[in-house]
């Protein structure tokens, strides 16, 4: 069995009702499910992963690396300001698996090697953060450079397309550079 063809369409996830919001806004998140894959195909726990176009990097909480037998602390590191605080982040080349949209429902999609979508990329592991709001953030480097992602708050949905989809759809509008 191969992963289903693109597009993969994910509904937004409702986190908070609008009752206590002064603007009456329902908090909807572009949240997908993903997991880390370790050496030998060891599967990490499925986590809710926030698609965040404002994050330069794809980031995970550091125990997720340990769960699948990856030591991120030998890799390059940097300080990043994340959610208002300075955090030390260690980068390692890892495999991530995007779970198919069906895994969000009760249909029982497994997010296995057969139905999930695997790719390898450097991921930043955030050190010593006691209570992160999300365990995985899919950002520009490591996710949005691998897929074309279209988000619509109006439609309350997120579509993931092949990496080349943006160029096929909009490439003719992009001015040719002199390089």
């Amino acid at each position: 069995m191969a992963p289903r063809p693109f597009p993969w369409l994910f509904p937004y996830v409702k986190e908070r009702d609008p009752e206590n919001n002064p603007l009456g806004v329902t908090v909807l998140r572009p949240l997908v499910e993903a997991r880390l894959i370790g050496p030998g195909g060891r599967e990490g726990t499925k986590v809710g992963a926030l698609v965040d176009s404002g994050s330069s990097y794809t980031l995970c909480f550091d125990w997720m690396a340990q769960e699948v037998g990856i030591d991120p602390y030998d890799g390059p590191d940097m300080l990043l300001k994340i959610a208002g605080g300075l955090r030390r982040v260690f980068f390692a080349d890892v495999t991530l698996r995007l779970c198919p949209p069906e895994s969000q429902g009760s249909s029982g999609a497994a997010c296995s090697a057969a139905d999930g979508l695997d790719w390898s990329t450097p991921v930043g592991f955030i050190q010593d953060w006691a209570d992160p709001p999300w365990l995985m953030v899919l950002g520009q480097f490591g996710f949005l450079d691998r897929f074309t992602v279209v988000m619509s708050r109006l439609s309350q949905a997120l579509a993931i397309e092949d990496q080349e989809h943006f160029d096929e759809r909009y490439g003719a509008l992009i001015p040719v550079s002199g390089e």
């Binding site: 986190e15 599967e43 809710g48 365990l135 953030v137």
Partner: protein, 70 residues
């Protein structure tokens, strides 16, 4: 003017509100385990043999909404 079709969101608001401030494991949109930390939650799932749940943090009831993570 055409009406934009809206996808029905995965509604976790009530499930998360009932576990405010905790880490939750969800399966089919329902909470199957709750713990104070993600470590404890994963351990509890392993002990119960649950390997197809998804884990998330439920925001605390008085916690300001987070905008801008990266």
């Amino acid at each position: 003017m055409a009406t934009t079709r809206k996808m029905r969101p995965v509604d976790l608001a009530e499930e998360l509100r009932q576990c405010a401030g905790k880490w939750v494991a969800l399966k089919g949109g329902r909470v199957v385990e709750v713990r104070e930390t993600p470590y404890a939650l994963v351990m509890a799932l392993h002990e119960r043999g649950i390997d197809d749940a998804t884990i998330l943090r439920a925001p605390a009831s008085n916690e300001p909404e987070l905008v801008g993570f990266g």
